[in-house]
């Protein structure tokens, strides 16, 4: 297990370095002038440009800039923005909100997806099965923008149950509708995955043995069948946490949640590379590490899998 973890971590290194370099290069080097539009309608003053160039090392070759940035980031120093606000403050303000939103979405997609999957997997070909199959297809196809505005229209304009913007405290109850929007696509995938697993495992030898032993149905399904069918679903959920946090930009935009996605998006609009690079890197790192943790988690859930 230890050696496997180490090998996986080593394999991650080139991917991490490549991705962060790609982001760094695109954001800092590709725009012709990093100061375009930074000072409103006027061009920036010479003194400002000189000070910023000095502070962010913009006169150095790009690989030096990247290495310096990487060195600081590894040591936990994400630097300051062009407005001299530490980036870590921005992260502290927005990150908990994104995490909350992603967790709400994860809970919703887990509960609804697994329930639908179990119900349909146990009784294949019935009315509920077909209903779920068609509605998962529907959910997978729905563009998230459309779901977001449809929900906002129904629950805000028509019913008046929610407010159009989530308040600054970001209460859990306010995140239910945005969380549902964020969860729609994954919900359908989980339902299908669970259905396929249940259907496949219900023909397995150990289930037949359990039934033959005379165990009651509740125990066969709840302990033997469910636990074994959960493995791919848990993997998917774990993968999805990283995905949900990185993909929350649209949902955060529609419901005005002060999360990391919206912060990045606004920073991109202002061409503030000092914010975009560390936050994008953070999302990428979370995304990649959630993949790894899920892989390692496999072995805990399924004793048949041994990484040696």
């Amino acid at each position: 297990m230890g050696r496997y973890t180490l090998r996986r971590l080593l394999q991650l290194m080139p991917v991490l370095i490549g991705t962060t370099f790609l982001i760094h290069f695109m954001v800092w080097q590709l725009p012709a002038d990093p100061f375009a539009g930074r000072c409103g309608e006027r061009p920036c003053s010479e003194a400002f440009i000189a000070r910023m160039t000095e502070q962010f090392g913009l006169d150095q070759p790009f690989y030096i800039q990247y290495l310096t940035w990487l060195k600081n980031a590894v040591q936990g120093d994400f630097g300051v923005t062009f407005n001299q606000v530490p980036v870590i403050t921005l992260i502290e303000n927005s990150y908990p909100n994104t995490l909350k939103l992603a967790l709400v979405a994860l809970a919703i997609e887990g509960v609804i997806g697994i329930t639908a999957g179990v119900l349909t997997g146990l009784k294949r070909g019935g009315f509920i099965d077909n209903l779920v199959l068609v509605s998962t297809l529907f959910l997978m196809g729905l563009p998230i923008v459309v779901v977001g505005f449809a929900m906002k229209w129904i629950f805000w304009s028509e019913l008046g149950w929610i407010s159009p913007t989530v308040s600054t405290e970001v209460r859990w109850s306010e995140l239910i509708v945005p969380g549902f929007v964020l969860a729609t696509t994954s919900m359908a995938y989980i339902a299908r995955l669970m259905r396929a697993n249940i259907a496949e495992n219900s023909r397995a030898d150990y289930v037949r043995t359990a039934v033959a032993k005379g165990l009651e149905n509740k125990r066969v399904v709840g302990v033997h069948l469910l636990r074994n069918s959960m493995i791919p679903v848990v993997t998917f959920l774990g993968l999805d946490l990283g995905n949900l946090m990185a993909g929350a930009i649209v949902t955060e935009g529609i419901f005005n949640i002060n999360g990391i996605g919206l912060t990045i998006f606004r920073a991109i609009g202002r061409h503030d590379a000092t914010i975009v690079v560390p936050l994008a890197t953070l999302l990428v790192v979370i995304y990649i590490f959630s993949n790894l943790i899920v892989d390692l988690f496999y072995a805990v859930l399924d004793p048949r899998i041994r990484y040696e």
Binding site: P14, V15, L16, G18, T19, L22, I23, M26, V27, L30, P31, A36, G37, L137, F138, M140, G141, L142, P143, I144, V145, V146, F149, A150, K152, W153, W156, S157, P164, N243, A246, G247, I249, V250, G253, I254, G261, I264, F265, I268, G269, H271, V276, A280, L283, V284, Y287, I288
Partner: protein, 315 residues
């Protein structure tokens, strides 16, 4: 569009230099004609195919559906509700929502389809090369793909688009569409490459590939005459399913204000333009959103049906 019908010709030589007699006798149907046979018997597929057909005609000849100029604006009619003369009402600028929704089909579908074609060609090529040659070429190309996969899709698209096609860049409508297609393909190719690689790996050591090599066939001949026809199915499936996803990605990017914009009339642009007016009246947003949903659903349903038809395990 990548429908399996046009690729049916591949079925004539699925086994490389296999004898064409079996095909002529009609005794054993190949994978492709089998899939086609299966598809035309699925009502859901036929309905989805008809819907896509309507959208393709709409994209090609929008004037067949409406004679109203989508750019004509009459401010006195701003935000008027749907009525007999304007089925979908008027938008904020007093333009006919029905006409704009019809004309919006072209950019949305063209961008989605072109992006899928670009991503499939590039990703497929990389994946086949990685799978065929193996060794360090495989490692290099696979790591490269992983780097792009590590970049979350929307995030990557926002970063690239804001640099190349931001509001300050002054790009024209065609240029914006071109850049959006390139960016979507640029971020989407690793998924296709991964699938192409694994399906090439699956057939690489088959007897007929060994035989072709033994007879002195070069890499190009082995890849195009023997590997590609037999490794094509998963790639086609992935591409078909992706079309729907790419069309909705276009809407997401337009909604964020970095995809298509103003001179272009598209469903995503209509949603972006009227998002803040949701409370006053929802119709300028709901109708394009409904068209977008139907189009995406139709493509997803086709993809789903093609997947089931081409994957014998699911039968």
């Amino acid at each position: 569009m990548s429908d399996p019908v046009t690729t049916g010709g591949m079925a004539t030589r699925p086994q490389g230099a296999a004898e064409p007699v079996a095909e002529a006798a009609g005794a054993a149907r190949g994978l492709w004609s089998d899939a086609l046979h299966d598809l035309v018997r699925r009502p859901l597929f036929l309905i989805a195919f008809a819907i896509v057909g309507v959208f393709v005609v709409m994209a090609a000849f929008p004037s067949l559906f409406t004679s109203v100029n989508p750019e004509f604006a009459d401010l006195s009619r701003s935000m008027e509700r749907p009525s007999a003369e304007a089925w979908f009402g008027y938008d904020l600028q007093g333009r006919d929502v029905y006409a704009r929704t019809i004309y919006g089909a072209r950019p949305s579908i063209v961008v989605g389809v072109l992006a899928v074609i670009a991503a499939t060609l590039f990703g497929g090529l990389i994946g086949i090369l990685a799978g065929y040659f193996g060794g360090w070429i495989d490692s290099l190309l696979s790591r490269m793909g992983e780097i792009f996969l590590g970049l979350p899709y929307v995030l990557g698209a926002i970063i690239i688009l804001s640099i190349f096609a931001g509001p300050r860049s002054g790009a024209s409508a065609t240029q914006i569409m071109f850049i959006v297609v390139l960016v979507m393909a640029f971020l989407g190719w690793p998924l296709i490459a991964r699938i192409a690689r694994s399906s090439v790996l699956a057939v690489r050591h088959s007897d007929y590939v060994q035989a072709a090599r033994g007879l002195g066939a070069g890499p190009a001949r082995v890849i195009f005459r023997h590997l590609l026809p037999n490794a094509l199915a998963p790639i086609i499936v992935m591409a078909t399913i992706s079309i729907g996803a790419y069309i909705s990605a276009e809407a997401v990017l337009s909604f964020l204000g970095i995809g298509l914009r103003a001179p272009v009339i598209s469903w995503g642009v209509a949603i972006a333009d009227h998002q803040s007016l949701l409370r006053q009246s929802a119709h300028p947003l709901l109708f394009p959103a409904a068209f977008l949903t139907i189009a995406v659903l139709a493509f997803v349903m086709i993809g789903d049906a093609v997947r089931e038809a081409l994957d014998p395990k699911l039968r």
